[in-house]
Symmetry: C2
Subunit: 326 residues, 2 copies
């Protein structure tokens, strides 16, 4: 992470959250908040589903990328933005850069799905292909920055991105004001830490809880022990949550004393299928993780916001079909 502003790494102030909301509001979709009777029955709670799978690019990630890109000064913006990602953040950053009319370079591993490469290319971004390890990705990204002077926009370990993600819960709390709990998935922690900050910013008396796959429970352990641990073997069906908690999200989650609710792979797949069948919403496995937490019954009798983080997945092979299920 380079970048001129202290903001990129620093404490996220109320002014910055306010600015993030104002900056992104004309560009992000104000996604609907859906209800589903049969889901409420299963959870024995009133669930309010914040539909970020209907966000531009199919995931909440556009909020953070949009805030980071729109907040760049003209000189920095001219040199463009870059990141290494093969997931939803790549598409979000490419979309935000196209919106501002600046170059975007995405470092993607050679084993990234063809569909994801094509989606990013269709948005006019440049793809630099590298080997699959983190070291290879970081080296390729460093070379891009040395060559172009591009601003790195990290998928979650970036205050501008976190401030952007905070806007989802701000909208949710306007549409469903009296929530007792908000559940958000946690991978790198950008969404969850943004959710803590956003809820606090609007003064909501709401408990924010992270939902994490048991097979990728590094956030739960890191917060329990107070020491940030590394990535688990990347095996969870919730592919968006396999990454380890970032340094800045870790600090924010620690400061907010956020609880993490860990769920099994089976519960994730069951929740995803239930949402498809009954709520008729296409969500990706990562978005089913907070639904699984709610369906456990742990929030019975409460008003629970659930951030459905995204809806991008391979429709040729669903988690309840065949070998992908862990």
């Amino acid at each position: 992470m380079t970048g001129g502003s202290a903001y990129a790494r620093g404490v996220i102030t109320p002014d910055e959250l306010k600015a993030a909301r104002a900056r992104t509001q004309p560009h992000v979709r104000r996604t609907p908040v859906e209800r589903c009777r049969s889901l409420d029955d299963r959870a024995r709670a009133a669930l309010f589903l914040k539909c970020e799978q209907l966000q531009r690019g199919g995931a909440f990630k556009f909020r953070g990328a949009c805030n980071a890109v729109l907040g760049l000064d003209a000189e920095t913006a001219r040199r463009g933005v870059a990141t290494h990602s093969s997931g939803n953040h790549a598409q979000a950053l490419a979309l935000a850069a196209r919106m501002r009319g600046i170059p975007a370079t995405l470092v993607m591993p050679s084993n990234a799905p063809r569909a994801k490469r094509a989606a990013v290319e269709a948005l006019g971004a440049t793809i630099v292909t590298c080997g699959p390890t983190l070291a290879e990705r970081e080296a390729a990204l460093a070379a891009v920055v040395a060559d172009t002077g591009a601003e790195i926009v990290h998928p979650y370990d970036d205050a501008r991105v976190i401030a952007g993600q905070a806007t989802a819960v701000m909208e949710l709390l306007e549409d469903a004001p009296d929530l007792d709990v908000v559940l958000a998935p946690v991978g790198g922690g950008g969404l969850l830490s943004g959710t803590c900050l956003g809820a606090a910013h609007v003064g909501a008396r709401v408990e924010v809880v992270g939902a994490e796959p048991a097979l990728a429970d590094d956030a739960a352990e890191s917060l329990r022990t107070g020491r940030r641990v590394g990535q688990r073997p990347p095996v969870s069906v919730a592919d968006g949550l396999r990454t380890a908690l970032g340094a800045l999200p870790f600090e924010i989650l620690r400061a907010h004393q956020v609880a993490i609710h860990v769920v099994s792979e089976e519960a994730i797949v069951d929740a995803m299928r239930f949402v498809w069948e009954r709520a008729k919403l296409v969500i990706e496995p990562s978005a089913a993780v907070p639904v699984a937490a709610a369906m456990s019954g742990a929030y019975a009798g409460r008003r629970v916001g659930v951030i459905l983080s995204g809806g991008n997945l391979d429709l040729d092979r669903l988690p309840w079909q065949g070998a992908e299920r862990a």
Copy 2:
């Protein structure tokens, strides 16, 4: 079709449409109208998606069943309602009957999917199992009526049902007033004929077009030749549209000189996948039929309402996976 009122078979008056709206409004969900940029790009038109997959029971069918059940006089209602169906109408009628607190008997063929039987049973309806042919179904239904005096509510050849289906387009035209075209799928014709009546009732200057699979194009032929033809071999992936056009819908569609837009199986599957991938909406193949018509480009430059008829399907086997694709 028996039943006390001439209304069950007769002409559907503006008063009856008004009554259907008033009667059903407190009970049906006012489903949202969704937009999708990438779908608009593909269709080169502005599409307004009326999300009946989010209707109670997962399909528009609840509107018609609800109107029929709520309109029964107390004495008739006490004896209950009955139909033969293994599809969305069965579930809708069971739901409407439970809502009014009256018995429902569903005649279902022995080869009906287990999940559909279970859904209907969960709603407290009685299931009578029969052989799979139409003659066997009708004989079983006649026996139920002889035994219980139940009122038959036909899935589409029933004016009360058609008047109920008309409420979907009434809502759509309130939410998206300046539509040039409304596309609705046509199987038995309850939804399409109701759409014609509903659009005319609110005085909209809108062209109503039926969308039909080429492999189930009996409505297209019937309207072209002026003679109602029978069911095609039931092979289209759009399982809800395999049935033949009903007598009453035929008369209504003829009177309104409705055009039918016929689409290929490939176009249906492509449209369904596109809606899942880009709009993130779970729709069943029948609901993809009008989307396929729009994606053909035939309505370029126009404002097009599309009635997404339902979202009930077997998630274990999707049309783009393996052998089901025709």
